[in-house]
């Protein structure tokens, strides 16, 4: 009798659970997300989920897994919120955020997958064996990569920065640098500096000339010394006159030859 009561209770419970699942129905607005995206950009889409049943329905988002494309980086998809509860006969909006990374992607690549949402009845229990079935709806996401573009905001920021830098430079040159540069003090200082520089240069040149002069003098002295002695004289230590050494082309020599 006790067993039959227990089995009846189990039957009743399963009936309640089944009826709950049957009435909890998850739906969505039709139509795929077909997005032409610039490489490196982010897009947002609203995804409407509806509970057509008579009882509140829990849901969980299953993010898409894109089939890998060789030498390319798959889009990154996130959803907000990732789970929640939809009251009976009510719809919620899920924000789907898609980012197409700049790295490795080229224009013309096509990505295709499905973002899913599965119903999780509030009385959901995990099975102990076999396959657990999770039913829901899915939204196809098709992404076509377009050439990258500089977002208008960033472009504006770059232009503003460039204008600011150039304007600043012109302002500084015209109103800060030039007046100072053209002032009497500045001119005098510059003239003084130029004078000092010239002086320094002159003194350097003088020093150089001095060195060269002393070198030349030393050379001259050396040449003079070498002309005044012969090898034999250097040996004996006796000095001969130039004329004798060259064969007696002196006045005495000439008179002797006449005789």
């Amino acid at each position: 009798m006790a067993i039959s009561k227990a089995s009846f209770f189990v039957f009743l419970l399963s009936l309640i659970l089944t009826s709950g699942i049957y009435h909890a129905q998850l739906g969505q607005a039709a139509g795929a997300f077909i997005i032409n995206m610039s490489i490196g950009s982010t897009a947002e889409r609203n995804w409407s989920l509806v509970n057509t049943g008579d009882v509140p329905l829990g849901y969980k988002i299953i993010l898409p897994e894109f089939t890998p494309v060789p030498n390319a980086t798959a889009p990154i998809v996130t959803a907000v919120p990732m789970n929640g509860t939809i009251p009976a006969h009510t719809s919620v909006t899920i924000k789907v955020i898609i980012n197409l990374p700049y790295l490795n992607n080229k224009a013309g690549i096509r990505w295709d997958s499905v973002i899913g949402s599965v119903a999780q009845p509030l009385n959901f229990t995990q099975g102990t064996g076999g396959a657990q079935i999770q039913g829901g709806v899915g939204k196809e996401i098709v992404i076509r990569a377009q050439p990258p573009t500089i977002p208008p905001l960033e472009l504006a920021a770059v232009v503003i920065a460039a204008v600011a830098v150039i304007g600043g430079a012109i302002y500084y040159y015209k109103f800060k640098f030039l007046p100072k540069y053209n002032s009497k003090e500045s001119k005098a200082a510059r003239a003084k500096a130029a004078k000092e520089k010239a002086k320094e240069k002159l003194s350097k040149m003088e020093a150089k000339l001095k060195v060269e002069r002393s070198k030349l003098l030393a050379q001259a002295r050396a040449i003079k010394g070498s002309r005044g002695t012969t090898a034999s004289q250097r040996k004996t230590g006796v000095k001969k006159s130039k004329s004798k050494a060259k064969g007696g082309r002196t006045s005495r020599g000439r008179s002797a030859r006449k005789k």
């Binding site: 129905q25 897994e65 064996g129 657990q132 039913g135 709806v137 899915g138």
Partner: protein
């Protein structure tokens, strides 16, 4: 002089009369509008095209199967679309996990078909994958379509109780 005065007086009277007349008209117009009870309110509503999914069961028990044997594609899950537009069934699954997670086998051993069949292993049934895939099975508006599941147990698979998640999505 008298004649002129008469003309001026007549003009003044005419102007005053015209003003009174206009005031009367405007008052009449206002009262007419305020007292009217036949204002039309146009109500519009745009009905969204939707697909809705309800599955018949949340679990499939494949019972006890020998290693190297198949269950056949006999376990039905009914997919009902209560929306106003047809939807294709897409499915994905997870690998089979044993009580000890060190032992498992691949999701691709789970097979499916839209037709009942006692055959399993060795036949060209579609396999469930980790990534969601289109079954090509269309569930029409307010229609129901059965999806039959089976599992091929790999040769030499360790005796254990294994579980898996199968996700069925109606895509529209």
């Amino acid at each position: 002089m008298n004649f002129k005065t008469t003309i001026v007086n007549a003009g003044i009277i005419a102007v005053i009369a015209a003003m009174m007349l206009s005031v009367t008209f405007s008052i009449t117009g206002l009262s007419f509008s305020a007292n009217s009870g036949s204002t039309n309110v146009v109500a519009t509503v745009n009905v969204q095209t939707t697909c809705v999914l309800a599955v018949s069961n949340t679990a499939v028990n494949f019972l006890t199967v020998n290693p190297g044997a198949s269950t056949g594609v006999v376990n039905a899950v009914a997919d009902t679309n209560n929306g106003n537009v047809g939807a294709y069934i897409w499915i994905s699954g997870s690998n089979w996990i044993g009580a000890n997670i060190a032992i498992n086998f691949f999701v691709t051993n789970t097979i499916y078909s839209n037709a009942l069949s006692s055959e399993g292993a060795g036949f060209l049934f579609n396999s469930v994958g980790l990534a969601t895939g289109n079954t090509g099975i269309l569930v029409s508006t307010a229609g129901t379509n059965n999806l039959f599941f089976g599992v091929n147990i790999p040769v030499g698979q360790t005796a254990n109780a294994y579980t898996q998640n199968i996700v069925i999505n109606n895509v529209c």
